[in-house]
Symmetry: D2
């Protein structure tokens, strides 16, 4: 199964579960995969920024990828992040991921590129590095400091192996609209566009033409149902459901702390055994945990899909 | 009336209203002041980051300040932002604001300071520059790149003219808790702490010990009522009301676009005549305006205090 | 006298002399102007980054500009920096400078612009703001974080009022070569290109096709003579002279400290009365002053043009 | 042989030689090691920022380290860079380097740390991660955005395994003076301090109290002789020699381009076979190569130690 430009729905970005001592927790990984599929995920994404990928050594990255792919067993496509300081290691990562059964890889421009042409050229070289793999282009200026204009993305999309854009420029809704317009006018190849930004603009992203979302929000059931409701034209119901979850989304969006919150939510929901991050990483204070508990309690009381 | 360490409630950060041609709009300024006071504001803050202060010339800043102070007429304290590249101009701005009747001034560390000591020393020099004026210390690393630890703020607060902290580190809730704990343990002078960050963490900020909030959210009535409900211990009611507004808060938080959204909200609510920003500045797309209209419509249907 | 695309030679960037108490020192300003002209300056530039412009109030900027222009008395063109957060104040600054007799203004992209198009568009708007004034485009990514490609500069140069590029990208020599090649091939309007970067690449800049340099090195006599020697094809003699001065150039290039070193050099040479910077600003340690003295002593022993 | 606080002289930072196809070039590595030792190096440093370490996979890093250590054969201490996003991999890198015979490791604060305490705490954790290894603390704010004050370094130096500071804050000379003063006054453990910054302030660093320098300038013979001359009190002779090389040092300091220049110099001197960098990386233009050739020619004519 290879990722293609018709991909849609919710691609859940999976964290990497660790035991409290920092060891890979593959039992939690299996349980997490099942929970995401049960929630209705259309795909999974691993080893992205939220997967603590740089804290894994090469053997661990291979082991974790194999574990996820084995458990998924072809039920949904799995995208593997392969960002790397050198194209040689990007090539190695992409090859091993695709050989293990990944559906595609995800790449992003490296920090420090200067000017539009340098970014377009970097992505062209990265596309060569990942070989035959279909790839997702991640547009996330907050993380890497690289802005990609509509015109730049249009040019990059001339490569047929660029099948998906993970759109998380902030603000970025007008960019989704502009890209969709270009495709409708026949001036740009149509690609799959998934939103991001932790889910905080999901209804607007879908209304602007996104095909779904790729994010790691701790209650992906909501993302799936909002996509379904929007697809049926039930905007008010979608917004009602979304609004219930926005306080927790906001809590997960705090820079440097968000992943710890997300892992805590997954642990509280019984999906992973420990909310441990590998060092160096933040720890949640008792007050923060109590705030998350409070929000989860409110959600459980209002959204039948949320059980604790 | 001078600002002191007992200040509490909602200090609304006011934008600077312009006519479509960029001229100061003093009629809208008067109307805006009345709207904020009618909403229950405990104070106003002008010429901050959200007030397009760097786009005003010196005469305009004086004129706008005078207009606001005249209209307020001493009903609530007015804080004036005086950040400036040089201490000489900071001194001049602070003196003219206080002579015109301001209750205090707001200062922030300048970008590029290196190390904790340099920041503490900068603020000490700025405190000399603003003379006798009570001052608000703005803790806003996202805007200026300067981190201030709990210990640094404790030291700065040894100056009795530092009467208030505008707390908008992100994440910053644990910092509020730590500062309050220091004061309770007698190891730090108690100062007023107001939250910020566009209001997105208002219930948590208050629960952590903030005395209120200083922000410019376009529907400050909500901020006032959440403060009141929290003060009465009605946490659930406060959260219910807050949650209704969070989607619009989120829309106002988009970097580079937020002030344009906020001015559009104020215009739609009949408070200012035009949502014009001075150039260079963003313009809202038709799609974005429609999204804001949609959220305002939902709010009007759910919160009786919101009329359009 | 208006700046035009044939400008060449050494445009000295002048600091703003202050008395130890921070007051404008106009007597030193007069002496400094005469010293620069005696050194062979082809032009002067004032109120740039090195002129502490943001620390002057509007009246002081006008007074200083008038003082310099009066003293220059039309002997050489004077460029005035007009960068400003808003186009309204940029317009006012440019108009008052040109009315006072400036030969042109200098503009630079504002920090935070996203993508090539945003930069090109910003400069086009700034060009409107400065009205009829010929302008210098400053290409200085180290200071403002904005990269400008050869193609972007080519497009900007379609505006006939863009008469000069201050080229201080780092590294930037290949950019000078590429721009010159475009002009030779008839694909770009020829403009004046002056180097910068404190003078540290002067021989290479000239060899690549620059028409001179715009910088504030404390011994501008060297800059003038290197330009003359290079124009006569005496590369070895130019390099010999340049190499003598490179240690002092290097000392002036230290970020955050360079202007203090430069003012100290000018004071030691008897050109300005005090090396005071306006607060906040660095002070030279005794050790640093001794190091500068040592380098000046070596220069005086080796370069007959350097007297102390 | 373990690195200790008495280390002094020139520690040459070695690049990683590649064949034009990107493969590790171990023959050149051997030749390079011999050249550095022949030049008088007191130590070598590998896998630092200039060693393209992030572009090596784990097996290559081990292979290259083993090759260098085997060739050095205990003649001088070898320091291995072990910076890593996670402490787990830092631990693994440090252990394997020390087991292979390294004399110590080099660590630096990770980008994004907020406030002095966070930096001190990070280094304390990193020190635990590297186990028994003596370590070099790299102070290089330009590269990682982390400022370390004199007081912070004093506190870090309470750990006896911190044996050396690589001092390359810019400007940083007053910091060397302040650290030395603290040690002389008995308020700080004395550690080895080596300068850096490409060698551009070598005479001043030594005069301020540095024990030598750790940098990768392409003609390390000069660094060695300047250290010797300064140790003998021959400041003028040291400066004369240094000044000859400063133009080439300056050319090697260009951000993003410097390593390419340095490898080109080493290739031109017959030390490595190819100046190839791993992709993505810059290529020198013909003009830049000619400029380097010109400077090398001048050096060869003036400094008998430079042969081509």
């Amino acid at each position: 199964m290879q990722l293609d430009m018709n991909a849609r729905g919710v691609f859940v970005i999976a964290p990497t579960p660790f035991a409290p001592d920092g060891a890979l927790d593959l039992a939690s990984t299996d349980r997490m995969v099942e929970a995401y599929l049960a929630a209705g995920a259309s795909g999974l994404t691993i080893l992205g920024i939220m997967g603590e990928a740089p804290k894994l050594d090469a053997a661990e990255a291979v082991e974790f990828t194999a574990c996820v792919l084995r458990r998924v067993g072809g039920r949904v496509p799995v995208v593997v992040g392969v960002s790397s300081p050198g194209f040689a290691s990007m090539r190695a990562l992409a090859r091993s991921a695709m050989e293990a059964g990944a559906a595609g890889v995800m790449i992003a421009p490296t920090p420090g590129l200067r000017g539009d042409e340098a970014v377009v050229s970097y992505i062209a070289q990265a596309a060569v590095a990942v070989g035959d793999a279909p790839y997702v282009l991640q547009d996330y200026p907050q993380a890497n400091g690289i802005f990609m204009s509509v015109e730049m993305i249009r040019r990059m999309a001339e490569d047929p192996r660029l099948v998906m854009l993970k759109a998380e420029d902030w603000p970025g809704l007008d960019k989704i609209t502009a890209l969709r317009r270009l495709s409708e006018e026949g001036r740009m190849r149509r690609i799959s566009i998934l939103g991001g930004l932790g889910g905080q603009f999901l209804p607007e992203e879908l209304a602007r033409g996104a095909d779904g979302i790729m994010t790691g929000y701790g209650v992906p059931e909501m993302l799936v149902r909002v996509c379904e409701l929007m697809a049926k034209g039930e905007r008010e119901a979608a917004q009602d459901l979304f609004d219930l979850h926005l306080p927790l989304i906001r809590t997960e969006l705090q820079p440097g702390l968000g992943l710890a919150v997300r892992k805590y939510v997954l642990m509280r929901r019984g999906i992973i055994a420990s909310d441990a991050l590998r060092a160096p990483g933040p720890k949640l204070s008792a007050e923060t945990r109590a705030e998350v508990d409070y929000l989860l309690g409110r959600l459980a009381a209002r959204d039948p899909a949320v059980t604790l």
